[in-house]
Amino acid sequence: MADAALEALTHVFAWQTLIFMVFGAGLGLLVGLFPGMGGTVGMSILLPFVFGMDVFQGVAFLVGAMATTNTGDTFPSILLGIPGTGASQATIMDGYPLAKKGKAATALGAAFFSSMAGGILGAIALLGMLFIARPIVLALGSPELFMFTLLGLSMVGVLSRGSPFAGLTAGLLGMLLGTIGGAPATSAYRFTFDSLYLFDGIPLGVFALGLFALPEVLDLLASHRSISSLPTLSGSRWQGVRAVLQHRWLLVRSSLMGTGLAMLPGLGGTVIDWITYGIARQTSRDAESFGRGDIRGLIAPEAANNSKDGGTLIPTLVFGIPGNGSTAILLGGFTLLGLQAGPSMVRGEGLSVSLAMVWTLALANIVGTAICFSLVKPVARLTLVRAQVLMPFLIVIIVYAAYLSSRSWGDIAALLAISALAWLMKQVGWPRPPMLIGFVLAEPAERYLSISYNRFGYGFAARPGVIIVAALIVAIIGSGVWRQRNQRLKTGGSADTPPEGRP
């Protein structure tokens, strides 16, 4: 293990890898800055570019971007009161009031320092879990791994916003779309309509871009959103750092909580953010100051939303189950780099790559924070730019990035078709992350199912591990339905319905 850690460190500190990591971290920051974009969109833009890259450089590029998105999203959340990504919603609660009080620099300093510390703690937790998870993973067979893919899909479906049934259906729809093309177990082509383009299936990059990027771009353009005024920056960034050090136990607790919760696939950054914020508030003596510019209300979610990256990587690496949209795309990136998530990531060369991710995660958080500290003023001005000015550049990048997936016009056609479907889904409240995760899980799920069937026949369903996971799936779906029913009863039938007057 020590040898692998040293080898990983050597790869991470190679100058080419460092350049890709800094480039990825810079792009992650940029994506986090623009409201409505989010880590999934950023990762989907980067994905086609990793094709053909060296494994360590590609991993540094993607993990660098993933690690810093939740640092960059702090700018719009605190300065403008707009969540840069879904995972920074709770940051607004106390960050924006602090900015309105003229303490924006203090708030930014506290948020960035919390993000950095949270990210590093998340990386350490990932390292620890890799050691613990290794024997567990090696004891699992294909039937259990197949059930884990279904478990991941169930959790994402049930825990996503809106109806759990819509989430599960969206996940299965993603899986169905993931079966387009050649079957892994036999030489048969499915749902291809005799189109050569579909013989290899829809590329993940195109699917992710269509699902998230273009619908967001269209909505931002159509809503003519622009931010008219910027709160005056005052105070000191270092005051914020000192405030975090004063509340260091809150920082550690929130970071560990973020990592722990993120290990559950599908919980998502938004939920984790709110849970840590809620616990920080409930366990504070003078809780009434929360929501009015209390620095503790900023430290807890910011630490958690960066530390969760380490947590989401654990199921992604050792079980091949992506914890959220970004790790779903990362999993796709592994395929492009010739890696396979699962037991192979905790032994041999896979272990070196996993450890390189730990180093990159920690390093990217430090780099991201350093960049943010130095860019407070110019970046704040950039977030004021209207969508009409920024989006044409993004549209060009999206179309070209989609084309690079398989270098075919089919990529662009598929991008437009998926975007249209995703935009509709977005407008009517159908959750899209389960669809992406279903799409990514389709290939491993089918592979594990085929191996299980060939090895054990349908008797694989009687294995104790399979029964336990199946019971978990039933419990998760049941609890999701029960939770929604309870919410509806509490709010008199309006928990998941919009207010009067909405069409």
């Binding site: 049934f165 259906t169 499915r190 159509a222 016009w409 407008q427 009517v428 085929s450 998941d496």
Partner: protein
Amino acid sequence: MLSKVRLTLDAVVLLLFAWALSQAHGFPRLAAQFPMLVAVGGLAFGAVGLARDIRRLRSSGTAVGGDVMDTASLSAMVGDDSEAGLADAFRALGRYAAWIVGYVTTVWLLGMVPASAVFVGVFLAREARLGLVRSAIAAAAVAVGLVFLSDLLSAPWPHTIWS
């Protein structure tokens, strides 16, 4: 209006799963197993979801989930609940969708670099009202950036109608 779209989407997805199930019957056994499993699951959950949406529409007058309000969907972003506000937003959306389709068509006709430069320049001049000089500079920057990116990645351009 959104309720009708939601129910239509529910029904279309259900039909898609039913079609996939019927298609999967014709595949070799090993290729059919997984799509059939997914299609059966999709039909079951989709049917329950559709039934619940219909019930919700009858009981509360809408089938659209509350998450539409919370997420950055167009109606929520516009911040206007009225039919007129939503109609304006949809008109704007149609215009921008046409811009994107127009851009892709121009790529097909002229090629990636000239089409991107023209698209960015004209979009910035017309929609963002940046002024001709700034729009032209941005267009040139996009062309240079694309050529640089293509060289860096050794990536080809999309074929045009002429190539």
